[in-house]
Amino acid sequence: MSKLLNSIAGWGVNIAIAMTALRTNLMRSILTTLGVMIGVFSVILAVAVGNGAQVSVTQQIATLGSNMAIVVPQPDSGSGPPRSTDRGRLTERDGRAILRQVSGVSAVAPQIRSSVQLVTPGRSATTQATGATPEYGIVSNVTASEGRFLTDGDVGAAARVVVIGQTVADKLFADANPVGETVRINRVPFKVIGLLESKGSNLGNDNDDQIVVPITTLRQRLQTTAMQGPDDVTLLFVGFEDEDSLLAGQQDIKRMLRDRYRVPKGRISPFTVRTTTEIAETTGQVTQIFQAVLVAIASISLLVGGIGIMNIMLVSVTERTREIGLRMALGAKRSDIRNQFLVEAAVLCVIGGAIGLTLAVLAAAVFQQVADFPAPVGLDTALMSVAFSAIIGILFGGYPAIRASRLSPIEALRSE
């Protein structure tokens, strides 16, 4: 017990010696600390931004809806750049067939996407219009926060009604309630029947900058690009009851579509069926790589900071060789000398690490405010940074410290 207390007191002495030595060369100590500070700062910020990106992507995927497959009439981008001849067709009939024949499917939402211009007296906006059916609301989790969403009646009658997103509403109606107002879409007057519930924005992608109209209305009134047939669609959202049926259904849909369009064996399928699970995985991997690259680049600055520590500790050992000799003459063991310089390096690193951590937390908070992007600095990140700086200190302070401890007492004492 007293041995433990003594060893703690011993470290206390070393810290006191280190502080004296560091104060003696204050400017040099500050500059060296700065290197570690910048390193720790950039690593923590990189981790925080990476974490933020992952949070953001997860939110983005959640807004798509879960247990859903997206079917588009073009080959998987994994099989090379798409050629126009590879493009397939997709129709509402296909959607109905999927609903009937693939097990576990709860709803199919056919959609046509088109870019449109909206005009109200004195204002205008360009946005993406989705021609959809009421199933769109079910499958991708879209509801109206005010007014109402599309009904089968709207679709059947090809009614000129529109449900608009919050961003579009802000542009066209400012603070006024848009429900019941009239808006001209590509010069055709539409009645606003509802406001889409806000889904916020992720990674600069505004989920509220869109409008939804009945698929039939879009086809008759707003379509700008020619389709091959009267009930062709841009894509299908296929909602599944659960994740298991989604995984099985993905293959069923591919097989079924190949049969329906009589795609010969060996030719690549002109359809892509992607599931929200896959999308989540892929984007998760992408953001992980993004984070790894960020942290790797930031680590270089930490490495440079560590080399700075080693450099200055080597200088310090050389300058104080006589002091080392004296301390040895007065009874310092090799381990005492080694610990003295290790502690000195560690003190530099820990001070740098603490300042770097503080600045990183502040910077992350500012970033969050200014860029509207989550950059959480968790307790784990903070602990990691402390461990990081300590490791840097031991790693880069270790060599000079061991060199100091190996000096011969008499040669050290004789040096000028």
Binding site: G12, T24, A329, L330, G331, K333, L413
Partner: protein, 237 residues
Amino acid sequence: MTAPLLETHDLVKDYVIGGEVLHAVNGVSLSIKRGEFVAIMGASGSGKSTFMNMIGCLDVPTSGTLLLDGIDTKTLDSDALAEIRNRKIGFVFQQFNLLARTSALDNVAVPLIYAGLGYTERRERAQAKLEAMGLGNRLQNTPAKLSGGQQQRVAIARALVTDPLMLLADEPTGALDTQTSLDIMGIFQKLNDEGITLIVVTHEPDIAEYAERRIVFRDGRVIEDAAVKSRRRAVAG
């Protein structure tokens, strides 16, 4: 009859310089009893400092035996040698070798850090030694604020703080004026009277006359080893 404090048998220290072997110390056998006051003399290059460094356990002999307080130093590792330097030997250097920007009190307390003593005990013992050296009112002064004589007295207090068996002083008066040198020798004589063994390396014959035994080195060998006739007494300041 107790064993001598220090005994050497055919002690040799070689240095290789530019491919040639230099016998800095070339077969020295002598013994120093407890309580002796010995002056080691010789011109520069005579081997007296090398001998001093070996008996101070700062340097290891090339061959031969060194018994310190009955212990053969050949058998000791660097940690054990450090402990001997800490507990049994007090060093006094020509250039005082005090830590700059460090108070007299903290300077004197340094050996006690390595002896593993706690903060309070370190301070108390360091203060007592400084007071014994007449520096009770200079505890917080840094070396820059002390005269040469005061600095050397701080160094002597530091050498004494672990209550060692012997004091090794390498040209302790080399950087001091005549009067201050006398003061320091007076302190040494007083300490010797109190029972501590003193070994002083010097090239000044006057200084050697304060010791009771004089050993003269030349070319790595002892050429004279005799009691000092007409020993001088200094009045301790």
